[in-house]
Amino acid sequence: MTYIPTSPKERDMMLATIGVKSLDDLFDAIPAKHRFPKLDLPKALTEMEAMQELSDIAQANENVRGDLISFLGAGMYNHYIPSVIDHMLRRGEFYTAYTPYQPEISQGTLQAIFEYQSLMSALTGMDVSNASHYDGATATAEAVNLAYAQFRGKRRKVLMSPSLHPQYREVVRTYTQGMELESAGDDESGIGLSPEAFANQVDENTCLVIVQYPDFFGRIYDYTKLIDAVHAKGALVCVVANPTALAMFKTPGSMGADIVVGDGQPLGIPMWYGGPSVGFFTTRKNFVHKMAGRLVGETVDNRGQRAYVLTLTAREQHIKRERATSNICTNQGLLALATAIYLSVLGKHGLGQVAKLCYQKAHYAARELNKVKGYKVSSETFFHEFVLECPAPAAEVNAHLLEHGILGGYDLGQDYPTLANHLLIAVTEMNSKEDIDTLVEVLSEVDHD
């Protein structure tokens, strides 16, 4: 009866109004053979017991704010989250509201999403943003849906860069298995090539080319020439971007990208062991009718007040049903709100500072690691993540680091067999010089173990 506010007396009055004798009488339509199963679940805990149990479970983990120094990124990053964000997210008016289908009593959510859309457009340099997707990987898969619909299914090839996040490539393949699409380009022999070399694979059957910025290895490329070459073949380009990097580097919008997507986790969302985060999706104005997901637009109410509504809903599943290009129903409302608050409170100045700190610290780390015998940094122009070639298999190096309380980089051999000795090291504003010096010191011991 934990959260049920009905007293036994009220229950009996209600049963009498309905005209049945007991609660069980309400379930006559349920096949008797299987009715009222005895569930084999642990006995109910009180709130005090549940809090203790969950605390114990949480403490069985080693976290990166006290237990471990972390240099792990690969798509999810340890950034500082100002206190103000969670204080706002904990407003029940935000987190216990539903999708804003009734705009008269949902203007808080609607205006916040409208501002989120505006902030993401500003950050990516694109015309329009939707209200968000589940994460960066599923937003990437939705870019394929857009491109496929744009060419009415007549172009059936999707080129994915080998330096697109391996899990994102896997999600795109999973999503598209019913569409008879050909996915190509992510042969790992291409990881050392410049993006322009990749353009040779674009043909008349290609609907979309997907590249990452910075790429999975942390490298920064100006994709302008690649995008021009792809456009010359009539295909579209989707850039999967790290939003923190966009505070510093040229926008994919200014390079001519048609779609810019990514994961908003670095913008004020805790890593939370992988989710939930938010997938942002931005595009050109001319693709807005093909874009999946919810959209909030500005309007006025019947009292002449500026207000916001969900718009272009005729694109969506509840109207179009099987003819919708996507079945997406929810967005990541609360996380989009977190992102909007983060971008608002850091603003132009703060987000620029975060990006520069990441850049400075990552480059300091790379420089120092490159000096250690047996190690070599193989990335050239990068943002806050780089590839470190090690004198031993990356898994062994990481095991050694963990013994010293350091969460090492991502073991690239898991996805790229030729890179078994390579770690992907991420450095953010959360890593102090002392952390980095400790990493360098512990790594220099690996040889002597």
Partner: protein, 503 residues
Amino acid sequence: MIDAPEKISAKIVEPTIFDLSSPGRIGVTMPASDVPETALPPKELLRSELPLPELAEVDVVRHYMHLSTFNYSVDSGYYPLGSCTMKYNPKINEDTCRLPGFLFTHPLQPIETVQGNLALMYRLQEWLKEIAGFAAVTLQPAAGAHGEFTGVLIMRAYHKSRGDTKRTKMLIPDAAHGTNPASVGMMGMTVVTIPSDERGNVDLKALEAACDDTVVGMMLTNPNTLGLFDEHIEKVIELVHGCGGLMYGDGANLNALLGIIRPGDLGFDVMHFNLHKTFSVPHGGGGPGVGPVGVATHLADFLPAPLVGIIEEAEADLPPLYGYVKPAKSIGRMKAFNGHFGGGFVRSFTYIAMHGPDGLKDIAQYAVLNANYLQARLRSTYHIPFDRICMHEFVAEGQFAGSGVRALDIAKRLMDYNFHPPTNYFPLIVHEALMIEPTETENKDTLDAFADALIKIAEEAKTQPELLHNAPSTTRFGRMDEVKAARELVLCCWLPENYDMNA
């Protein structure tokens, strides 16, 4: 670039975050760099301008506080939104999901360092299996629609693995959620719509006629979107299985079934859960959802990877070692990383742990009690087209003979009585539908006040219909010009021409 939005002379209730910006204001100052400086990359790789707002923290707090007061929410009042299960979200969930061990763990950490997370996921998988009667569960899908898509991929993969390639038709009742046909459309399958009979059940004759060897399966919400448990459910499943099809359960309405019946026991082969409906993950103004999928034994090998499993069994005084396992014929990966762990799994785990088997049954019983009580109180005022004992929700018609009042007007008028309206215009098979789901977390006083308001509104519809046509009148905002929004398509409030994006 986007066209500059035309000047709107509308009255501004709350300026946007861009309107509030004032150059030079600082919200958060980051520490100075503590490492020797590195030169920046060449200028041509950098952006020249970062067009974000400039605000102090207090500006940001007041702005979002103002916005929050424009929202209706479960914490502020009754929210009987059919099909959405807007139950009260216990506050302890907000604290457990923010424990540092959950907030600050990275999804790619070595399994030895995240045994707490993995144990929680493993136990949640086991609990969901037990609650709904399935052999295996994936927690990966991010929402109900995502779970559906996962389920349809699994059904397709199952038939394909048996060389049964001519199956392309999915049977979907006319009362189904729009996500069902959309999930099928994403797969290039065709939808065959099955009508409902006069008692709101699946029409067995139509179903029998549609069942042949081209059927992938059937997607059924049960209780359905009328709030009714199908009286021939066993026959429906027998027919679908009989032609070699698989039975998909849309778990949107699982709140009515906890401890009452397990879909797996009835013969459902695959089902998605909505942890954000049934197990109290707050709706967050439109997400995140959480949509795990349960399957029967013959589909377990097709689940998305990875699942959480026991890598080394427990020994004398050692707990088991949890880790990731990949099903043999996995359809692949539905999203990056491990699903909606923090905001989803931890909250639902807390909720189930605090209910236990008896508490879960109470949830379903009181949800059904509340719905039937409201139905009984409204029966003589509103026409209920499929009128029998309902489950957790019911559907009434929001129209009266000889009156121009529509369901939309009733919905808007309810706001003047400080209630959130029910779902309207769904399901599509009821004219002017008002779909009412009270949930178990409302008391009799609230239900009575809501019924009284609806009865009063029915009276107003006859005597003062303008009150309904003009509603809401007591709220901060009135009805919206939706045509203007779609025609002008202002989706963004900063003006790119003020910034040189190409520099």
